[in-house]
């Protein structure tokens, strides 16, 4: 991500006005109690707007399934060699929801160690994926974005692009603890945008990131392809957040199966085997 705090990126006036409509408790400096900065968000969304509306062909289905207010967790699959999916879902929550919402991702720990990336991600509300952070954000009725596959998910190679690797269980415990509904979503097209052929783990360790994805053209610069986001109907889980893993895993599998079904539909839509009217997002 480009450190907007360093480069004076332009701010689109319409987008800045839309940022004002995000329902967060801003202070006089346009900063919320978590340090999220309205001016930085306006820069971010101006930049993302170009990629979201012009560079990629992003198709969003079922945006009405994301609650307009109150706590919720967006839970989906990773697709593409780096978190392009997260960036596009953040853009989608801003451009496609009414009122616009800030989706707050649960980021990898390395991001807070990198100069500028630490700065920028802190100002746009993308915090380290700690349970304490997630609980606090959900209790403040915010929209939290979770990829239960973690870094294993972004490391998927091209041939595995629409598969799901192992899910963590933390997100289910968070949902049970805070009573937040889970909005499952599928993200398809990331694998086509960034077709990873190999991941360089040693090089990544040397520069302080999990790995460096390599595409047929070298750097992981995404192609301007079609990306699809399918939001499914919210799932409200019931149970004890402190249950043993064998109980929690049943909830995890339920959410995972829902996401897998959404991926299949997105794939069929992409391949022309299904029409939009035939989508089942319930």
């Amino acid at each position: 991500m480009i450190p907007a705090s360093l480069i004076p990126l332009p701010t689109n006036a319409d987008i800045a006005r839309r940022v004002e409509r995000i329902e967060l408790p801003w202070n006089r400096h346009g900063v919320d109690p978590f340090g999220i900065d309205r001016a930085e968000l306006a820069r971010l969304y101006t930049l993302l707007g170009f990629f979201y509306h012009r560079y990629f062909d992003v198709k969003v289905y079922g945006a009405h399934n994301v609650p307009p207010r109150g706590r919720a967790m967006l839970v989906g699959n990773h697709s593409g060699g780096w978190a392009l999916d997260a960036v596009m879902v953040i853009a989608s929550a801003f451009f496609d929801l009414e009122p616009p919402r800030l989706a707050q991702g649960m980021a990898e720990k390395f991001m807070q160690r990198m100069p500028f990336l630490a700065w920028f991600t802190s100002r746009i509300g993308q915090f380290t994926g700690l349970p304490e952070n997630a609980v606090r954000l959900l209790e403040e009725d915010r929209l939290v974005l979770v990829f239960p596959e973690g870094a294993r998910g972004t490391a998927k190679l091209y041939r595995d692009r629409d598969s799901l690797v192992g899910f963590g269980t933390g997100f289910v415990r968070l949902a049970l603890q805070t009573g937040a509904p889970i909005v499952p979503f599928a993200f398809v097209g990331g694998g086509e945008a960034i077709p990873t052929v190999v991941n360089l783990y040693k090089l990544g360790r040397m520069i302080g990131i999990p790995y460096v994805p390599v595409t047929p053209w070298g750097a992981a610069i995404p192609l301007p392809v079609t990306l699809q986001i399918l939001y499914g109907a919210p799932i409200v889980l019931e149970g004890n957040p402190h249950d043993t893993d064998d109980v929690i895993i049943k909830h995890v599998d339920r959410v995972k199966a829902r996401i897998a079904a959404l991926i299949v539909q997105a794939r069929e839509l992409r391949d022309g085997k299904r029409r939009e009217a035939e989508l089942d997002l319930s």
């Binding site: 900065d37 720990k109 802190s122 700690l130 304490e132």
Partner: protein, 308 residues
């Protein structure tokens, strides 16, 4: 109430003493530093809290309340001496409290207890352990003093002990860790990092300490004022200029070219935030801060033309 205040000659100690007298308490202070003209009603004994004359104050005065603020927090102080004052002093004070029948003891600790790091959460709660002692061993005496003071709750259960973890103070007195960091017109920052800083107006901090004493607070509590503010905003609003330096460059430069001589662990506190949740304290005491972040920063900045 008869109240003994250790560390009374410090900027915050004086504020606390003045408030206690105004609210009708009898105040005696102990400090190695002098306070030449204390207000009427405040008696100051110049002594080291670990020595006999300090114990004599407990013996003769028989205080009902104690506010322990005699901890050294600035990092330039020689660390072995610091360790002795902070731990030995805290031990002596609580032993005297037990021996001479103090009913309410307030230990004023620091929110830096929680430590700063890339993987620490925003808004720490009181149950969390100190996570960054390994990265910043120079703070270990303050962390140990905090935990030792907390142990008085079970060692001396008849004393109502409260341990306050106070965030940075800022305001017209211009004393304390954050004020020292912002002292000059140019503030060194770490290139590419802009952490949130959590601060409270000095007067609000003094009010909170008095409140803890009067409400007979028992337990460990975070104390903070308004929501935290990014360092860049603090630098801008206090009329300073930030000098961003790459982290790799700052380490060898510490102590040279006018930069403060800080241990390397202190850099983490300029890179990462320490933000605390003070809900429990507010609920237990009804505390409401009077100064918001803007009033606090402008009080620190002073009038235009004031010496920086």
């Amino acid at each position: 109430m008869r109240v003994l205040v250790t560390g009374i000659a410090g900027a915050l100690g004086r504020e606390v003493a003045t408030r206690l007298v105004a609210r009708g308490h009898e105040v005696v202070g102990v400090d190695v530093r002098p306070w030449y003209h204390p207000p009427d009603g405040v008696r100051v004994v110049q002594a080291d809290i670990r020595k006999r004359p300090a114990e004599d104050v407990f013996r003769t005065m028989r205080p009902e309340g104690l506010v322990h603020m005699a901890t050294v927090t600035h990092l330039t102080h020689r660390s072995r001496e610091r360790f002795r004052i902070n731990l030995g002093g805290t031990q002596a004070v609580f032993d005297h409290c037990n021996a001479y029948g103090v009913e309410q003891a307030v230990f004023v600790g620091r929110h830096t207890y929680y430590g700063a790091g890339p993987d620490s959460a925003l808004y720490h709660t009181e149950a969390e352990p100190p996570m960054a002692v390994h990265a910043f061993p120079e703070l270990s005496d303050l962390v140990a003093a905090d935990l030792y003071a907390g142990s008085a709750l079970w060692r001396y259960p008849v004393i109502d002990t409260s341990v306050l973890r106070l965030c940075y103070t800022l305001g017209p007195l211009r004393q304390g860790t954050l004020a020292a960091f912002l002292r000059g017109p140019r503030v060194p920052t770490i290139l590419g990092f802009d952490p949130l800083f959590h601060f409270i107006h000095e007067f609000d901090a003094a009010d909170a300490i008095v409140l803890a004493l009067e409400r007979r607070l028992r337990g460990v509590y975070n104390v903070s004022g308004p929501p935290p503010v990014p360092l860049s905003v603090i630098v801008r609003e206090t009329g300073r200029t930030s000098i961003p330096l790459p982290a790799a460059l700052v380490r060898p430069l510490l102590g040279r070219f006018g930069l403060p001589k800080l241990p390397p662990g202190a850099l983490e506190h300029v890179k990462y935030p320490i933000v605390i949740d003070s809900t429990a304290f507010r609920r237990a005491t009804g505390f409401v801060h009077a100064y918001d972040e803007d009033a606090t920063m402008s009080a620190f900045r002073g009038r235009p033309g004031d010496p920086v």
